[in-house]
């Protein structure tokens, strides 16, 4: 499903060169739920951004669903992100000026989907995460756990094959974190979604199929 070959990411300024990722080789199969762990600054988020086509590696190849993504034009990358990938962020990144239902509809705005169909799919996604009673609320009227559930609904509304979660439980207490993990596990098990999750929490990582450890930009396990 996802194949990373010899991935290297170097950040360069006029005077400093920082290696964020060094020779990463990783294959993730369809339906896998993997977690990426490592200390702060080890390159976890950079790796997730590369898988999510939000960033390009300095070297190496990224193949997702049989398609090489390096050098694709912006339009193709955007389409790929829109159809194949779903994102969940640590700090939720909901648009506070839009009600929950509109936040969830966001990915569908960039597809040719009618307004009614958008609403239907968004309602279904919210139902899946147990927030159908909060559709008209604004994000600032929700708890952290609810916000993350909205973010999950937004990530799954377009029925992507891959969900990328960047520390989805990082801003939540353990109860809420477990709730979010339950939802992700359910999505992986029942909906066959491939999930790549960055986490700091060993307990959360244990609930995934496989753990990838990074240290100073290199894969250590």
């Amino acid at each position: 499903m996802i194949h990373l070959k010899n991935i290297e990411k170097v950040y360069r300024t006029a005077t400093i060169e920082t290696v964020a990722l060094n020779n990463i080789n990783l294959s993730i199969e369809k339906g896998e739920f993997i977690s990426i762990m490592g200390p702060s600054g080890c390159g976890k988020s950079t790796l997730l951004n590369i898988i999510g086509l939000l960033d390009e590696p300095s070297k190496g190849n990224v193949e997702i669903g049989g398609k090489y993504t390096i050098g694709l034009p912006d339009k193709e990358l955007a389409k790929f992100r829109n159809h194949t990938l779903g994102f969940i962020f640590q700090s939720f990144h909901l648009i506070n000026d839009l009600p929950v239902i509109d936040n969830v509809e966001l990915p569908l705005l960039y597809r040719s989907v009618s307004g009614n169909e958008r609403r239907r799919l968004a309602s279904e996604a919210l139902e899946k995460v147990g927030l159908s009673n909060r559709m008209k609320h604004y994000p600032n009227q929700l708890s952290g756990g609810q916000k993350q559930r909205v973010a999950i609904a937004r990530a799954i509304v377009g029925q992507p094959e891959i969900i990328l979660a960047d520390e989805p439980t990082g801003n939540l207490d353990s109860n809420m974190g477990n709730e979010i993990m339950d939802i992700l596990t359910h999505l992986n098990r029942d909906d066959k979604a491939t999930i790549v999750m960055v986490t700091h929490d060993e307990n959360m990582a244990k609930r995934t199929h496989r753990l990838i450890r990074l240290f100073d930009g290199s894969q250590v396990s």
Partner: protein, 388 residues
């Protein structure tokens, strides 16, 4: 997508209301300037109906003790003018000759309909001097001096006001409140723009000159200059004691009159331009600030599948929707002008002014929104999503 934009704008209505107000006032200013420009352009686009090239105007002060003497003096001047080969034709006119600062009005009545009109007393050679072409009928001649009715030539604007679709030629009308000799329309001209190039079509009546007209209009040969002017001035002043003559070229007189119209428009346009520039700078700043505040939102949109172009269109679209709200408010006020017939202008002038103002506002906001929106579209999603 439009609904989505409306929701975002409505939720940020407090901060957007300032932009709506800015757009509203900008529209009103642009509406005023464009309406004025359209009004003047429409007037300018009409044929003037007269030729001012190589036409000179001699303002003669005879210091005559009475009209009989003045008549004799005028005959002397006419004989003198015949001597100049470069003077093709000439005619005495009342002091409100074209492009002077004088005006003379009187009321004309037909079938109890009363209409005010400029009245110009001119000699029969006047149309030759001014290159006036008649649309209907004829100009008065010497022979008309003994006619039962006083012959007049009128502009089509006056003809339409007095007679509507009826034929004007031969119609007897009353002039003024007093018991003047009834006048008879013998000719109609289509256009006569005698105040400036931006004068609207108006009422004007030409009546045969009497005794007191001492402004002489002359058509001179092409290329005539200061030498001829000096000769004529000298020739006339030598005819009588204490006479004074001032000769002006009608093109210069017209340019002076045009300036009286153009200068306020230019000043207004500069002031308007300055205001609009400030509004543009304000919009530019507000949009930059807004986009800066929404960097994470941009990152999220990009992650969700928005292309760079979609982000560009989104932010320009938001600004255009905000501009539309300001325009709707502005159009509500602007539409009252044609509805209430303010300033007695044609509705088409106001409507064209509105259309141009709307296009100007959309052009302005699109230009102002383009650069900040472009900056937003090229933001790196991975970077902005990790900003605190």
């Amino acid at each position: 997508m439009l609904k989505h934009l409306f929701k975002l704008i409505w939720k940020r209505k407090k901060s957007n209301s300032l932009m709506v107000l800015e757009i509203f006032f900008s529209f009103l200013i642009l509406f005023a300037v464009w309406t004025l420009a359209v009004y003047n352009y429409k007037n300018y686009a009409h044929p003037s109906g007269l030729q001012t090239d190589n036409v000179w105007v001699a303002f003669i002060d005879f210091h005559a003790p009475n009209d009989t003497v003045k008549m004799q003096y005028k005959e002397l001047v006419k004989q003198q003018m015949e001597r100049y080969k470069a003077v093709k034709s000439f005619a005495f006119s009342s002091t409100n000759a074209p492009f002077t600062f004088s005006s003379s009005n009187n009321q004309f009545e037909y079938n109890k309909k009363k209409v005010m009109s400029e009245v110009m007393s001119v000699e029969p050679a006047f149309p030759d001097v001014m290159g006036i072409k008649l649309a209907e009928g004829r100009w008065f001649t010497k022979a008309d001096e003994v006619a039962k009715f006083r012959p007049i030539v009128i502009t089509r604007h006056l003809k339409n006001e007095l007679f509507g679709n009826e034929n004007a030629i031969g119609k007897i009308i009353n002039e003024g409140e007093s018991d003047n000799t009834p006048t008879k329309v013998i000719g109609v001209i289509d256009f006569f723009r005698h105040k400036d190039d931006f004068q609207p079509l108006s009422n004007c009546t030409f009546v045969p000159a009497g005794r007191w007209e001492d402004t002489m209009l002359m058509k001179v040969a092409e290329g005539s200059g200061a030498e001829l002017e000096a000769q004529i001035a000298k020739g006339i002043t030598q005819l009588g004691k204490d006479w004074s003559v001032e000769i002006q070229q009608m093109n210069n007189m017209k340019a002076n009159r045009n300036n009286l119209v153009l200068v306020p428009i230019i000043i207004l346009s500069i002031v308007c331009g300055f205001l609009i520039f400030n509004v543009a700078l304000g919009l530019f700043g507000v949009l930059f600030q807004t986009i800066n505040r929404r960097r994470q939102e941009i990152g999220v949109r990009r992650a969700m599948g928005a292309t760079q172009k979609a982000i560009l269109i989104h932010f320009i679209g938001e600004t255009v929707v905000i501009a539309t709200l300001g325009l709707i408010l502005g159009l509500f006020f602007a539409i009252q002008f044609p509805l209430l017939n303010v300033f007695d202008l044609e509705a088409s002038v106001y409507l064209t002014g509105m259309l141009l103002a709307v296009l100007s506002v959309y052009g302005l906001v699109t230009i102002c929104a383009f650069y900040p929106s472009r900056q937003a579209s090229v933001l790196h999603p991975a970077t902005v999503l990790h900003e605190e």
